[in-house]
């Protein structure tokens, strides 16, 4: 397949996926809250995303009078563009990826961190207190959670010996899904992913109770639409990276057991998309279930729980490789040490709270 065609297919499918995940989210949330959700446009609401797109395009774009005009216009473009770029290195199926670069994983993280700048640009340039505070808060949170996130990835890289997304998936044919070897890292990654994409329960960006709508309070019309699309593209990216790193990418389940070879009949793109969609459902489910966490609690979760835990996980993995200990022992050790750290942390909290 030629390069242009591949890029076209990926971008097209991504746009469709973003459009329909919003619909799916609204329907699922409605189902969880005993409502109907959008069901008027088309059969069961299937044309709702189209209607939303038309609405966003034809809506007036209000720009606050004091706004920094060019930065206000550029911010959504930056967010959108850098949310799209990481999809270049994703292996969607066996031998289907746009490009495979040597530093794939690091590249995704780097582009993500450029995308953060779109947030602060939007928050700063609209000259509104809510936007400004929202973007500052969100930025501090996103960068904080990046540290344990990268640390959690490192455990996987020890096994795969490469940062290339394709090689990471291929390495799992040998070791089995990395979630079995790195359960702690998987949990850390998922939590960080929720924070990075600013979803409930960690959505300090759009804390509507105290910040109205966070950094895009002043955005309306298609500019808001661009931020919205970028947010969902980022969500997909987090789910995809989790799939590639921990759930075997496009590999079938039980990949290291020849007994299940018959599963290979099903094309690899199916396995990939089912895993990504399952993770997306998890995110929507979290949003439907959990209340928002307080900001300081979230900061503590990052620095005092996830960061030490990811360090412990890394050292345990290094030990595992060095000694070649039993995989079950390793599994028990990493889960046990995770729980142990939580217990220690809980003790320090109780000590701090009790009047001495």
């Amino acid at each position: 397949m030629s390069l242009l065609m591949k890029v076209g297919v990926v971008v097209g499918i991504l746009m469709l996926a973003i459009a329909y995940i919003t619909l799916a989210e609204r329907r699922i949330l409605a189902f969880m809250q005993f409502r109907m959700g959008p069901n008027r446009v088309g059969w069961g609401g299937v044309l709702q995303p189209l209607a939303d797109a038309v609405k966003l395009l034809s809506k007036e774009c209000i720009m606050p009078e004091q706004a920094d005009k060019w930065m206000y216009r550029t911010a959504p473009v930056v967010s959108m563009a850098f949310a799209l770029v990481p999809f270049a290195v994703v292996p969607f199926a066996q031998a289907f990826y746009i490009t495979d670069i040597n530093i794939g994983l690091l590249f995704i993280m780097a582009m993500g961190s450029v995308g953060f700048l779109g947030t602060i640009m939007g928050g700063w340039s609209s000259r509104s207190k809510y936007s400004f505070l929202g973007s500052l808060r969100a930025l501090a949170l996103m960068i904080s959670f990046e540290v344990p996130m990268i640390m959690a990835m490192t455990g996987v890289i020890i096994f795969s010996r490469s940062l290339s997304m394709v090689k990471i998936v291929e390495a799992q044919a040998q070791y089995g899904w990395f979630v079995l070897l790195q359960p702690l890292a998987f949990v850390i990654y998922l939590l960080c992913g929720v924070a990075e994409t600013q979803r409930i329960p960690f959505d300090m960006l759009e804390d509507e109770g105290s910040l109205v709508c966070g950094f895009h309070t002043e955005y309306s019309g298609i500019r808001f639409g661009l931020f919205f699309m970028a947010e969902y593209a980022n969500m997909f990216m987090v789910a995809i990276v989790a799939t590639v790193l921990f759930l075997g990418g496009w590999q079938r389940p039980f990949v290291s057991w020849p007994f299940f070879n018959f599963l290979s009949v099903i094309p690899s793109i199916f396995w990939f998309s089912i895993k990504v969609l399952a993770l997306m459902f998890l995110y929507i489910w979290l949003r439907g279930t959990l209340p928002r966490v307080r900001y300081d609690q979230l900061i503590y979760l990052c620095w005092k729980i996830l960061l030490p835990l990811s360090l412990i996980n890394l050292m345990l993995t290094a030990l595992y490789m060095l000694w070649g200990m039993n995989a079950w022992t390793f599994l028990a050790l990493s889960i046990g040490s995770g729980l142990a750290w939580l217990w220690v942390y809980d003790k320090t909290q109780t000590l701090a709270r009790s009047p001495s």
Binding site: D68, M71, I101, N102, I103, L106, F107, M109, A110, M111, S113, V114, F116, L117, I120, M121, W124, L136, L139, I143, E146, R161, S162, L163, S164
Partner: protein, 179 residues
Amino acid sequence: MAFLILAAIAVASAVMVVSVKNVVHSAFSLVVTLFSVGCLFILLRAEFLAATQILIYVGSIMILIIFALMLIDIKEANRQRRFHHQSKFVIGIGIILVIEIILFIIPRSEFIESPEKLIARTAEAGGNIQIIGQSLFTDFIFAFEFASIIILVAIVAAIFLGKQPTSIIKKSSVIKDSS
């Protein structure tokens, strides 16, 4: 070709950094500069360095600079004149640096290995990052461990400064005065 475009962007945005009146604008021009320098590293086949440049400089140092700008009174800072009498002095230093590069650095610098050989060796090791890892953990091990201690010192210093918020404000007002 790609080099020329990227270099032009880098230089143009660097000029913006010092000439734009609004401090936040100049901070974001610096983002563009650092990003295009990162892309230049890719042209040099230093992928890891490129990603690191973008992740560290654009992703964290720039965010830190922006946080620092939020600490100061931006309107007041924008009102300051950007160029004082030191501009002549700075131009002088710039000219001396350019002469130095042309006369001394370019003739004396040479590759430790020929580029072709290096590319072949990189491909053999599996990539840029593996080569860096190997040399970091064999030849430059002392520097590596020393780096960790430097970072520890930096953490201590950062906390010390952070414990006294007033000192940061004082420092930033010093920056404001000289900008």
